[in-house]
Amino acid sequence: PMALGQGNPVPTEGGDPNILNLPEHATGLGQGVAANNGYGIPSKFESNVQRRQSPGLTQTTQASVSFAPLQSLFGIVTPSGLHFERHHQGWWDIDPSKHRFMINGMVKTPKVFTMDEIMRLPSVSRFHFIECGANTAVEWGNVAVPTVQYTHGMVSCSEFTGVPLITLLEIAGADFKNAKFILAEGGDGSSMTRTIPMSLILSGEVLVAYGQNGEMLRPENGYPLRLIVPGIQGVSWVKYLRRIEVGDMPYAAKDEAVHYMDLMPDGQHRQYTNIQECKSVVTTPSGGQVLLDKGFYNITGLAWSGRGKVKKVDVSVDGGRNWRQARLETPVLSKALTRFNIDWVWDGKPAIIQSRATDETGFVQPTYKHLRAARGTRSIYHNNAIQSWLVQENGEVKNVQVS
């Protein structure tokens, strides 16, 4: 049937009982400060807002993913409790007073630091997105999952605080002349290793971070120390960071020589693909939601680019035929999520909603047609195609791909 009428009609008694009958909270005394050991938690009415595994995607929970509920998030900051997770050998809660950080390789003096010491160094705080290289992977060929949580939920954005890696490399006396790469290594079971270009480190953007959204990193995100590599896929943001080696050739670590490579139609893999190109997605309305009524809606979503700032986001409600420019919420920050909003009056007819981001380099987010023409359908990683949501006459929104 059609979408519902007035969401809040006047009952026959001449008023809404939620107004006429004062609730308990208007007529009683509430709870005290500093409940729950001085650390607050969300409302009990928010329990649907969870990070979730995608059923059937992985065979274990420790080499797995949980997706952030983008359909329920606001603004650009991802609550740390809802930050997406990607673990290869499970997560740990490491005693920070016992954690050590080492620099070796092409340096004058290999060095060891305690957390106390790292936190004494000049720190910076910056907002950045992190996106898994495999975000939206299951959609390369066809529609495979119903909601934006599962299509795009491997992206999050936080304010990170830490020390520019270059400061630590300077302390160790790195051979900036001959070194071309570094290896970052984790301290957990997987001891995740990734090759990072020295050019990025010289830019000052790469951080050895301990802070996330005002507090310490969460255990699931690498407590107490994580490498922050803005614009670069999440697997390079090594968690539980224990060591940096300065070197002169790439390391072909497992997650850059077996995974996180992009298979081309000719059978070659593009290796060392680390940038997350410009991308966007409408988060509401989005798949699995129901519009309750015709009328005014606020279309909202997220845009980001691994190459810098988002310049503009356009939104279509007719599957890409016509576009209007959305409002960008401030601040618009480099290599951070950008929130966009645009007005829409739904007339009750089917509509296909899309967003299309352009970044400051002028790069325009591709359609599936563009992307498949360049890379086929089997490359798994780096799917940044324009997403389509079909709003049906009955108000239900479906994940679709258009031709």
Binding site: P1, F45, N48, S54, P55, Q59, A63, M102, I103, N104, P110, V112, F113, R120, P146, T147, L168, G173, L183, S190, S191, T193, M198, S199, L200, G231, M249, Y251, A252, K254, A257, V258, M261, L263, P265, G267, Q268, H269, Y272, T284, P285, G288, Q289, L291, L292, D314, D318, G320, N322, W323, I352, P366, A374, R375, G376, K398, V400, Q401, V402, S403
Partner: protein, 233 residues
């Protein structure tokens, strides 16, 4: 070497670096001396690896298969032919990996999954030898060692399967291209003829990800669809 930060950090000792500097590069820098035979590897494999990866590395019960999909021809060409086939089901580790150092390094640092870093170097040589033998990269009587890793590298089935000629590396270290491979334009009006739905989930998958009503906030401009019941079309 900066001295701008007095009191912060101290030199690492040789012992400390030795304890943590375990990586092995494609040029085998970092590879410790040692060796292990396919036969030793098979015993170890069956004791410590097979229950997760299958006796022949073929299992996908806890992870994707390690072995399968490569041919002797691939070993010659250094390109795994099945990677060109869109219809080939799945991609094994051995189909993809170009560098034998990667296998050695990863097994050494991370396997077995529940007891990473528990293998001695000789044991890592042995299970690596066994895995390679399953793919006929080395014969069944082979003894893998730091001395012959470079020779084995020359037989890796997908050793020529990698390219860095792309715009997706944030640096110039690989001399890739700077120009992205897609070039959409921000057309605003009458950009395409009518859009048609080309792919969507079938009705039977409606509830495959759980009830979506429970995956949306209780209030909002939209609520979650109740997928526990058939759609009201």
């Amino acid at each position: 070497q900066s001295t701008a930060y007095p009191g912060v950090g101290r030199p690492a000792t040789l012992k400390e670096v030795a304890a943590w500097d375990i990586d092995v590069r494609p040029d085998f820098k970092g590879l410790p001396a040692g060796s292990g035979s396919v036969a030793q590897g098979q015993d170890l494999w069956e004791a410590k690896c097979a229950h997760c990866h299958g006796v022949f590395g073929e299992s996908n019960e806890v992870f994707s298969p390690l072995i399968g999909g490569t041919t002797n021809d691939d070993i010659k060409t250094g390109n795994v032919a099945n990677l060109k086939r869109a219809d080939f089901p799945g991609r094994t580790t051995i189909m993809k990996v170009a560098t034998v150092s990667t296998l050695w390094d990863y097994i050494n640092r991370a396997m077995p999954w529940t007891a990473p870093k528990s293998l001695k170097p000789d044991e890592v040589y042995a299970v690596t030898a066994y895995l390679l033998s399953l793919a006929d990269v080395v014969p069944e009587n082979f003894v893998l060692s730091d001395k012959n890793m470079a020779e084995v590298q020359k037989r890796m089935p997908n050793r020529n399967g990698m390219t860095t000629q792309h715009a997706m590396w944030a640096g110039k270290e690989f001399n890739g291209t700077a120009k992205p491979d897609t070039a959409n334009v921000a057309c605003m009006k009458d950009c395409i003829p009518e859009a048609k739905v080309a792919s969507m989930l079938p009705d039977y998958a409606r509830n495959a990800h759980g009830n979506l009503a429970d995956q949306n906030r209780l209030v909002g401009q939209q609520h979650g669809a109740n997928t526990a019941v058939p759609e009201n079309k």
